[in-house]
Amino acid sequence: MDKTFTISIYSENNVGLLNRISAIFLKRHINIESLTTSQSEIKDVFRFIIIVKVPEDNVKKLIKQIEKQVDVIRAFYHTDEETIFQESALYKVKSSALFEERHIQNIIKESHANIVTVSPEYFVIEKTGFRKETDRLYQDLAPFGLLQFVRSGRISITKSKMGISEIIKKFKSDN
């Protein structure tokens, strides 16, 4: 049965690694729901967060194939319950709506969204949270006319320890 899994990859920051990792999904005809890359807590170590919906057997095999890549330090998979995760969304609305429709101010206040910028033509709202929260705000704002909408991939931190520094330390002492 398909389930949502968060794949976390700690890797070297090398050109081409993203291609190498996405090729693993491509070869197995698995769709990536979202992907974000960033620096990790360790200097010079990169972190990928990839969301997939697959059976658990498949995600286990994916992890092994990812870890097999020379530039990957470690890869893990976790369920939603095992992670703290967020997504960020931006909404661009025409400024007239803010002044003409009082209701919109309540929506912003109740959703705990932030107004990032305001200009005579438009204003931009930012909301970080779970998918259902950014979705609800989307539904609420849609009637006022969204000029633009964009949502980030999931970023996620695990409840359990990752132990990457230990791996790196061990490598240094072994070599």
Partner: protein
């Protein structure tokens, strides 16, 4: 005495002046002990070729007639010598022509380093002449790849490339070097790579798993071993033989494991898989313990996974964690280098013989001899069979030749019937099934083991995919013996068309040229045989020759290879006809 490698390293260390990136490439190869590379020059790699000219006494470059030939030759060289094969090509088409060989080396775990030239870094991404994204193209089929855009990167990247190619589960690595990096100069300092922090070649031996495996082995009543190329790649032939002999367990091979244990060994029960032997396939579904050693449960070995060895406990000795539970769920995975695991296992197992169980293999072999093997090797019909050609080769080489095969019927027949007395004697394209592999691979195999007899057995189809490498064989005078088994068909596809497509022979019939004339056109000794009475003398003459030799044998046009497990069927459904 110092090795050539140490001398090269020392020489490198004493260099005080700056050298070009191109020269650095050559010095890196020498420091890694490379004395032979295969390749094809072109614009973007010319600075390196210019240095090859200067270093020709230390580093032999073999000009193949196509870049694909260079990769297969490097593979053949790696397979017989145990060293890393090296292929070099220019950018664009030169690089893309390497891809088939790289994919072949990846799936068959062959250590290889490929070097490609690339347009200058200021031109990258501009669709320049002969620019191609070879890093992007080769990513899914390489163990690792890297684009060098700056000469200073050369020593570290080459050291890393060779380390990665040969360590752990070996595989192909590609280094793409922009032209400016070949021209630029650098302060050259070479240090061999001893580790990469993000890469673990193999796991430490799991003593707990080894003792669990020993426990299962000691308890088993009907144990069965299937070994693969891991035994050869891990140089574990001695340990493997000791394990088989002490445990008394019948052992069968995958096509890439072939030759790790001599054919005549009493516990060698033959091949598993689609065209493997009757007994090993049937008894896979009767054994109570299956010991898989350095093999990966390829679909050509297992057939339908839902009915594969369900009754058995399974132990899997494997270096690559990604292979554990990939196709077959196993009871005891033993991760690590199989040489070390076997060393630890042998003292823990009881000395046994499984005569009654081994007798089952013998009984089924009798059935196979009667139904299949007699017809293949001792035919009563007029036409020559592929099998009797192999028998004649066995007779004249005493089983001590390197066999290089292409892909198709001849490959199955040759692997089934060739006698082997020592390891690293079987070179074939197993995983990728690359037609055109054998001729260039045979050239490389001969150069990797020049003291050995190398016999390439090739079908008339695959032969014509890389036939131009006759030119390389002529130029190098590598004494390869080439046997083309000509049935004027793409035989394996024709067999499937006969069995599964109502004999609709779509595009499998071949109208062939005069192969002897072609070989003679390359000034090779050549002969054609189409009658049984002439076969043995022709093979004898070929083996006796100390030069390259071409022999065409016209065989029955519509013979089939049996036994056979149809695609998707169970190993229990193996057919004898």
């Amino acid at each position: 005495m110092k090795t050539k490698e140490q001398i090269a390293l020392q020489e490198v260390e004493s260099l005080s002046k700056k050298i070009s990136g191109a020269e650095a490439v050559i010095r890196c190869l020498l420091a890694e002990g490379v004395d032979l590379i295969y390749g094809y020059p072109g614009g973007a790699i010319m600075p390196v070729y210019d240095e090859l000219y200067k270093f020709q006494d230390e580093l032999n470059h073999v000009l193949t007639r196509h870049e694909q030939g260079a990769t297969h030759a490097a593979q053949g060289y790696a397979r017989t010598s145990g060293k890393v094969g090296v292929a070099i090509a220019t950018s664009g088409p030169g690089a893309t022509n390497l891809v088939t060989g790289i994919a072949d080396a990846q799936i068959d775990s062959t250590p290889m380093v490929c070097i490609t030239g690339q347009v200058g870094s200021h031109l990258l991404g501009s669709d320049a002449f002969q620019e191609t994204d070879i890093i992007g193209i080769s990513t899914p089929v390489t163990k690792w790849n890297y684009q060098i855009t700056n000469a200073s990167e050369i020593p570290e990247i080459f050291a890393k490339a060779f380390y990665i190619a040969r360590s752990g589960r070996p595989g192909p690595v590609l280094i793409d070097i922009t032209k400016n990096a070949q021209f630029e100069t650098l302060d050259f300092k070479y240090q061999k790579c001893i580790g990469v922090r993000s890469y673990k070649p193999f796991s430490a031996m799991d003593t707990h798993a080894v003792s669990k495996a020993a426990e299962l082995i000691n308890k088993a009543k009907k144990p069965f071993i299937i070994w693969g190329q891991g035994v050869i790649l891990g140089s574990a032939e001695e340990e493997f033989k000791a394990f088989v002999e002490k445990s008394g367990i019948p052992a069968a091979w995958t096509i890439l494991g072939l030759s790790a244990l001599p054919t005549a060994h009493p516990l060698n029960v033959g091949m598993v898989g689609m065209h493997g032997n009757y007994g090993p396939n049937l008894l896979t579904n009767e054994c109570d313990l299956l010991i898989a050693l350095g093999m990966r449960f390829d679909d050509r070995v297992t057939g339908n996974l839902d009915t594969y060895a369900k009754q058995a406990k399974i132990i899997h000795f494997e270096i690559d964690p990604a292979e554990i539970n990939k196709n077959v769920i196993v009871d005891v995975p033993v991760l690590g280098d199989c040489k070390k695991s076997l060393e630890a296992l042998i003292p823990l197992i009881q000395k046994k013989s499984h005569n009654k169980w081994k007798g089952r293999f013998d009984e089924l072999m009798k059935v196979e001899v009667k139904e299949v093997i007699d017809k293949d090797l001792r035919p009563e019909k007029d036409g020559l069979t592929m099998g009797e050609v192999i028998v004649s080769i066995n007779k004249h080489t005493q089983g001590d030749a390197v066999l290089v095969t292409d892909v198709g019927q001849h490959q199955m027949v040759a692997c089934r019937y060739t006698d082997f007395v020592r390891s690293r004697s079987n070179v074939t394209s197993g995983g990728l099934g690359t037609m055109g592999f054998a001729l260039p691979a045979a050239l490389g195999a001969k150069m990797g083991a020049p003291e050995r007899e190398v016999v390439a057995v090739i079908g008339d189809g695959g032969y014509q995919m890389t036939i131009q490498e006759l030119g390389t064989i002529f130029q190098t005078q590598a004494a390869v013996k080439i046997v083309v088994l000509n049935n004027e068909f793409l035989g394996m596809v024709r067999q499937w068309q006969q069995l599964f497509f109502d004999k609709r022979y779509a595009s499998t019939e071949m109208v062939n040229p005069d192969f002897v004339a072609i070989a003679k056109g390359y000034y090779l000794d050549a002969k054609k045989v189409d009658k049984r009475e002439n076969l043995d003398a022709a093979v004898a003459e070929m083996i006796a020759s100390d030069k390259p030799y071409f022999l065409e044998v016209c065989v029955e046009k519509e013979d089939n290879v049996f036994p056979m497990i149809p695609t998707g069927a169970s190993v229990s459904d193996i057919r004898l006809k």
